[in-house]
Amino acid sequence: MTRPAHVPQDPASPEPADLDRSIARLLTVGTYASIALLVMGVALMLGTGIAPRSGGPRFDPQSLVSDLVALRPAGFLWLGLVAVVATPAARVVASLVGYSRRGERDMMLIAGLILVVIGLSVTLATVLEG
């Protein structure tokens, strides 16, 4: 028998089904947006005659905007790839907000810890690379 969970709830807090639906939409939009950016990048890459196995530039956040403005394929490809990698993290942020509105502290803690691990990934990789 499943005992009903006793969690404090705001009357306006989203139901679990609503949270699932919101996160589903976020994932779908994030994935489609990422793919759209990658399609742009690949179209520009092929249009400018760049061979895929010629060795692409490394990720450089500082040149991202200038690459995008100059319509360079690397700009769109990197933005698309960053969007791909960031979409799951955005889903965790959305869950954190949803669970905090429902007052579910244990799930808030888990969501927060996942974000800490993702933050650690970025930090450790950057430190080791630098």
Partner: protein
């Protein structure tokens, strides 16, 4: 132009097979990129992780919308897959390529044997269209899975928390085993560029008593974060080539979309046989390269 096409086509094939057989595309993408196109293994793994996130994002959205994936359970376990993936991603840059090739060859053989022994059709868990239809099906699956599993509490956990991880018609057991399995799945995912579903689904289904279709959907949801934690390390450390990742990810996305649409028209047992043959051949090639 031809190379670009090859990458897209390889991605499409991996995406179709992956969605029809319930596997991530990584088991095919990594060998395709390394053996057929000569991409360095570390780059192939990075590209594969990106593709895993893309397929997870597309599929998990549908599973959540239809209330098949268990968000609470998925988030609890993915905390540990993410920790494992972070560790795996950091270690991957230190390991010799031959060692990773050997591990990948072993993985391919294991997946081939598991697929060959699978009795029921390996269709992707096609979720029913509404939540009311999901509940009885899940309860039925749950009856199957819990019937064979006694439920001693090996790891003591706050009962109210573990109860809230359970879903309609099933109870989650042995969270401790799930945590250990998730850590291992995360390490393997980041080392080999796979989603880790080959580890997570059996752990959730057989050990934790989660119905198979919920385990598959939840594993799919978790793959995004697992692969993401590993992919970040690859991205920052130069392990992802955008010119290779872009076309391959588009191909995988197209392939997964095609696969989900044609799933009902294809005789999966024939496809599975073909897939097992391809995996065994690829494993042979991978092991040969590692050992010579």
């Amino acid at each position: 132009m031809f190379d670009g096409l090859l990458l897209v086509v390889g991605g499409v094939v991996a995406g179709i097979f992956g969605s029809l057989l319930g596997l991530g595309g990584g088991t095919l993408i990594v060998p395709w990129l390394t053996l057929a196109l000569g991409v360095p293994l570390i780059q192939a793994v990075g590209v594969s992780l990106v593709c895993v996130i893309v397929t997870s994002g597309a599929a998990a959205g549908v599973y959540l919308e239809r209330h098949v994936a268990n968000l609470r359970l998925g988030m609890t376990l993915e905390l540990f897959t993410a920790i494992g993936a972070l560790a795996g991603g950091l270690v991957a840059f230190l390991l010799p390529e031959r060692f990773v090739q050997l591990m990948f060859g072993g993985l391919l053989i294991w997946v081939s044997i598991s697929m060959a022994r699978r009795r029921e059709p390996a269709r992707p868990a096609e979720p029913p269209t509404d939540a009311s239809a999901v509940a009885p099906a899940v309860a039925e699956d749950a009856a199957d899975s819990t019937a064979t599993i006694p439920a001693p509490e090996i790891v003591r956990t706050d009962p109210s928390f573990i109860e809230r991880l359970s879903g309609p018609g099933y109870h989650v057991h042995r969270l401790g085993f799930g945590v250990v399995g998730s850590l291992f799945a995360g390490v393997v995912s980041a080392l080999l560029g796979i989603g880790g579903g080959t580890v997570k689904v059996p752990v959730m289904n057989v050990v934790m008593g989660v119905p198979l279709r919920v385990a598959t959907a939840t594993s799919n949801l978790m793959m995004g974060i697992t692969a993401s934690a590993g992919a970040i390390v690859y991205l920052v450390r130069g392990g992802i080539d955008p010119y290779i990742a872009g076309p391959t990810a588009i191909g995988v996305f197209l392939g997964a979309s095609i696969g989900s649409r044609v799933a009902h028209r294809i005789h999966v047992s024939v496809l599975r046989g073909l897939f097992v043959a391809i995996l065994l051949y690829t494993a042979w090639q991978m092991l040969q390269r590692a050992l010579t």
